[in-house]
């Protein structure tokens, strides 16, 4: 059973370890809308990061635009002007195929060239489709093909395991 508080603690510990190991001073944290922002808000507070949290909406960078079109709920991304040379901690809720992260990296690099990007996710599940992986995770799980993880929040944050109808 996935317990949200344990996962948040694990992710915080993992990020702390990386910050120390890589001697990251003044990192910039960015959350991916929507679930990633909820997790990032928690991490931002717990890790005492000074600079305001950056918000990333990857809708315009998705690789499935030609299938699903424009997301009508798209919100502007809010990133600081200076991405160039920064150490970025990118946060998402669930890492699955890797496509969201590819889109996020493409968008971030359009704002400038960061020094490094570290990826932290609450849950990594199996099913990668491109060669990317997170640097630290709250938990790694293996699911059946018809199972999906959904996060609800921001208050309270909760994890749900859903069964997807194969015909859908």
């Amino acid at each position: 059973m996935l317990e949200i508080h344990d996962l948040l603690n694990n992710l915080e510990a993992g990020l702390n370890r990386i910050i120390v190991e890589r001697q990251l001073t003044n990192p910039l944290m960015i959350g991916i809308r929507t679930g990633g922002v909820w997790i990032a808000e928690q991490m931002h507070q717990r890790l005492n990061i000074a600079e305001p949290l950056g918000l990333l909406d990857i809708s315009f960078y998705r690789d499935d635009f030609s299938q699903i079109g424009v997301n009508p709920n798209v919100k502007p991304s809010q990133l600081p002007q200076h991405i160039e040379g920064r150490n970025i901690i990118l946060i998402d809720d669930v890492f699955y195929t890797g496509r969201t992260i590819r889109a996020a990296l493409n968008e971030i690099f359009d704002y400038g060239r960061p020094n490094q990007v570290i990826l932290g996710v609450l849950i990594e599940r199996d099913g990668r489709q491109i060669p990317l992986c997170p640097d630290c995770v709250g938990a790694s799980v293996t699911l059946n093909a018809d199972q999906r993880i959904k996060l609800t929040g921001p208050d309270p944050l909760a994890i749900h395991l859903q069964i997807i109808d194969a015909a859908a």
Partner: protein
């Protein structure tokens, strides 16, 4: 009819030809998507990959600077390949028909036409005739409609005033010849403003103008009272075939927006103009360049709104 043509089976935008028949929800969605594109101005690389590999042709049968360049920039920021054609200088002057021009461009695997034409209904005609996978955007047709201009104006109004429901909006000047005014009136009423007021001499108003859902005033000083948004229109000299006005200076005296007249409107009223402006004819330079003017903001917003409309019209249509 126009309605059906603009939307696909799922009710999503396919062509953008006129505001008429589009619902508030869709107009609001366009404004919301455009809002997100405004954020792109902070990016070092001002481009998103949405329309990569798509080809957009700007077909301008009539002169334009602002509209053509902002459409071109919008297409480029969406990563589309864009071709801008001024048709008066190309094949049609050699006698090629409109339909033949379209067929030839279709044969070059085009995905979207952006059309400006002096004849009302030209964009509609192309949308009806063109191949089913192609989207058509109306960039101004005759005296009929200029829907992307109206949407960028709505966007600018929302940016500053936030909510439409309490707004009183005055549209001033040459309503008779203005496709912009027609589209603005439809958009303002669909979005639910408190009042749309047109202010013009009788000779510059279409017959039965009230049926468009506006109040009418023939006096600028009386009409500007309580107004939140002032939209000035250009005096379209090139369209004025009959003697509708005594003289330009006479017009300025009665209907030109000066600092004194501006004081009659609400103190936080904004001044808009679709451009190009005739300084000293419909608007005084002090007002056009003054603190209440948002004319250049309108130009900037034209890029984001056109990006939103092009992206939405290019999303996958129907067939899975």
């Amino acid at each position: 009819m126009a309605n059906n043509l603009q939307l696909n089976a799922e009710g999503k935008l396919k062509h953008f030809l006129t505001i008429e028949g589009l619902e508030k929800g869709l107009l609001t969605e366009i404004l919301d998507v455009a809002e997100s594109f405004i954020g792109m101005n902070d990016q070092q690389i001002k481009k998103v990959p949405l329309l990569r590999g798509k080809t957009i042709v700007n077909l301008f049968f009539e002169n334009s600077t602002r509209t053509r360049t902002t459409f071109e920039l919008a297409a480029k920021r969406l990563s589309a390949d864009v071709l801008s054609m001024s048709i008066s200088t190309s094949s049609t002057s050699k006698g090629e028909s409109l339909l033949d021009t379209i067929r030839n461009l279709e044969a070059m695997f085009v995905d979207m036409f952006v059309v400006r034409h002096a004849i009302s209904g030209a964009a509609h005609f192309i949308a009806q005739q063109t191949a089913p996978h192609i989207s058509v955007i109306n960039a101004g047709d005759g005296q009929h409609a200029h829907p992307t201009q109206a949407m960028l104006d709505m966007f600018t109004i929302r940016q500053i005033k936030q909510d439409f429901s309490n707004l009183k909006v005055a549209i001033i000047g040459d309503i008779l010849h203005s496709r912009v005014a027609r589209s603005q009136i439809q958009a303002l009423n669909t979005l639910g403003v408190a009042e749309v007021r047109v202010i013009a001499p009788k000779t510059l108003l279409p017959a039965h103008v009230e049926s468009l859902g506006v109040n009418v005033s023939h006096s600028l000083t009386a009409g500007l009272k309580d107004i939140d948004v002032i939209i000035m229109l250009r005096l379209q000299k090139e369209r004025m075939t009959s003697a509708l006005l005594p003289s330009e200076s006479e017009y300025f005296k009665c209907f030109g927006l000066t600092e004194d007249k501006l004081k009659i409107a609400k103190p936080d009223a904004i001044v808009m103009h679709p451009g190009p402006i005739n300084r000293g004819v419909e608007i005084d330079s002090k007002v056009a360049d003054g603190p209440q003017s948002v004319i250049l903001k309108q130009v900037s917003n034209g890029i984001a709104i056109r990006m939103a409309i092009m992206a939405m019209a290019m999303q996958k249509q129907g067939v899975v």
